[in-house]
Symmetry: C2
Subunit: 350 residues, 2 copies
């Protein structure tokens, strides 16, 4: 099936309207008419080949929501008309320890990412959600239980939501815990909402005094302007967990110093240039840890979507049409979005 | 009471014989005639003020074993003649969460270290185990159950032993776990012995092919020469826990790459100059952690001593007389010791 998509033909070419094909619906497949797709920083890195390894044509997008239009003969989890989502993965080896543990993102064979991963389908690599439809194995399709009117704002949960949910859950954010969220952007604003909804005492860190009110509005119980040394010092040694969503190169030490004994700071952003080397004394005195975390598994993505559906949690979004993507990329680079662009997939037809 | 000790009068002066005073035995105190004291790298750093903050006269030594010569009226845990040890701490606030949790080394008020910490006793700072005797609150005295003939080799358990035991236990080294020990020196050789005795599959990392046999003799099940890229690659993603005892500046990334999903590398040595900044991608892909750990609490030090007594585990030592300390320091700096110098305290009298 030929469908319209939005992608790039080379790293130095702008995004343009493309025609791509989607495979026939196999026995275990779900065909999805895409309603909305979130715009993630990774999308921009990939189409411009900033991480290396980009394959063209490149059609990004891994924050996909839509409706089921067809199911294969052996599909048991979904039926036509269901509201569903697809995140950063569309397959994995299903045999390794991580796959068995429901943590397919750490598949030792390497998960099949929603875009830019090898696949048997034409053109030989996966093409993402900036398109009218997608065909995905049912085991990598998520159920969406939110109100239909909120669907666009659900899209970013499939990457920004799960990327913050997974470490918050893994490190037991919840009642009685003091949790910090560093960086209030696409990921961070979801981190604040989710940590607060999980019952943790949630503290947002921002570099800018101007974002204080906005962070409180997201549900943060406190906001710390990280450039304010006095404000930082008042919280020394008090955090059980800090989720650091900032990919820009920055000094980790001031945040590590805020961790309580046995506290962990988890990084979910990878900097282009290394952060200054963290001071080992800060880790030794307090048995503190620096960790990393990658999106989340399928089961925990479903858990997160169910939790968000139940609690009415969505992303704060700005809707765009397909032909506004280059402008959206430019604004995203400047941090000029509260907090996520979402493409209205209906505009791909134009 | 005036006793003989071995210490430095200034950072640029050699170690010399000194006379120091020990406080009268208080109601909760234990007086200990020191039999042996291990020589730790920290001792050298302190007397030469390499970390800053050294107070003179400086009498180092925090790997102390000996026999009780007097106890205060309210002492219930020890009696005259008991074989005991004292490690890196002689007091703490006893009120903070860490003290309540038996992790006095993370006391938020700051533990009282065995040397160079403020104290009410003359001369106003604590003086360590390079001396004939010491007076310590019973709550910071450990019981030694080893054979008396092994006593000298027990001394290094009080720092090198507990510094490796505490993280091995905290990160659950034991049957079914693959544990690496980086650096086979004073700390590392204890790490290998303890990890193996705890039942973990124990792998020693060394930079030198020449240390392979020695590491196997300590009980390692495998030895990896870390400069050998092929040997390292064969173990990628396979370690549950790596205890890194190397304080010299080095690249952490090759070791982090050996961690399995959710694996941790714990650093117990603080480098004088920062390690190269670890690659964040290595942490994100695999939810890996870099942590630090500081010695161990009193309860876990006793647990370690009991375990070692039961399993006949001691340190590999080279005995020296007090007047050989400068030579021992020099050899220690070159790594020319297998694996710990221990001072025969009887030689302090000479």
């Amino acid at each position: 099936m030929t469908v319209k998509a939005l992608g790039a033909l080379a790293a130095n070419k702008p995004m343009e309207s493309l025609e791509i094909t989607r495979r026939a619906v196999g026995a275990h497949d779900v065909a999805i008419k895409i309603a909305f797709c979130g715009v993630c920083h990774s999308d921009l890195h990939m189409v411009r080949d900033e991480w290396g390894g980009a394959i063209y044509p490149s059609v990004p997008g891994h924050e996909i929501v839509g409706h089921v239009t067809a199911v294969g003969d052996h599909v048991s989890k979904f039926k036509v008309g269901d509201t569903v989502g697809v995140g950063c993965m569309v397959d994995s080896c299903r045999e390794c320890a991580s796959c068995h543990d429901g943590l397919e993102q750490y598949c030792t064979g390497g998960m099949t990412q929603t875009y830019n991963s090898p696949t048997a389908d034409a053109p030989g690599h996966t093409l993402g959600g900036y398109s009218q439809s997608i065909v995905v194995d049912e085991n990598f399709v998520l159920r969406v239980t939110h109100d239909e009117k909120d669907l666009a704002a659900v899209a970013p949960l499939l990457c920004a939501g799960i990327t913050t949910w997974s470490p918050l859950r893994h490190w037991n954010a919840g009642p009685g815990k003091k949790v910090g969220i560093v960086g209030i952007g696409g990921l961070g604003h979801m981190g604040v909402k989710l940590a607060a909804a999980l019952g943790a005492h949630t503290v947002a860190f921002t570099t800018s005094e101007s974002k204080r009110e906005a962070a409180l509005a997201l549900g943060a119980h406190e906001v710390i302007v990280s450039k304010n040394e006095e404000e930082m010092a008042a919280h020394a040694g008090s955090f059980d967990f800090i989720l650091n969503t900032v990919a820009a190169t920055h000094n980790l030490d001031p945040f590590i110093g805020l961790l309580a004994r046995d506290g962990t700071m988890c990084l979910v952003g990878a900097p282009e240039h290394p952060h200054p080397s963290p001071t080992v004394f800060n880790l030794i005195f307090g048995r503190r840890s620096i960790a990393g975390s990658l999106i989340g598994g399928i089961a925990e993505t479903q858990e997160m979507l169910d939790f968000c559906g139940e609690h009415g949690i969505t992303s704060d979004i700005e809707m765009i049409a397909a032909n506004q993507i280059e402008d959206a990329f430019a604004r995203m680079l400047k941090g000029d979005v509260r907090y996520r662009f979402v493409i209205d997939s209906a505009t791909l037809a134009g």
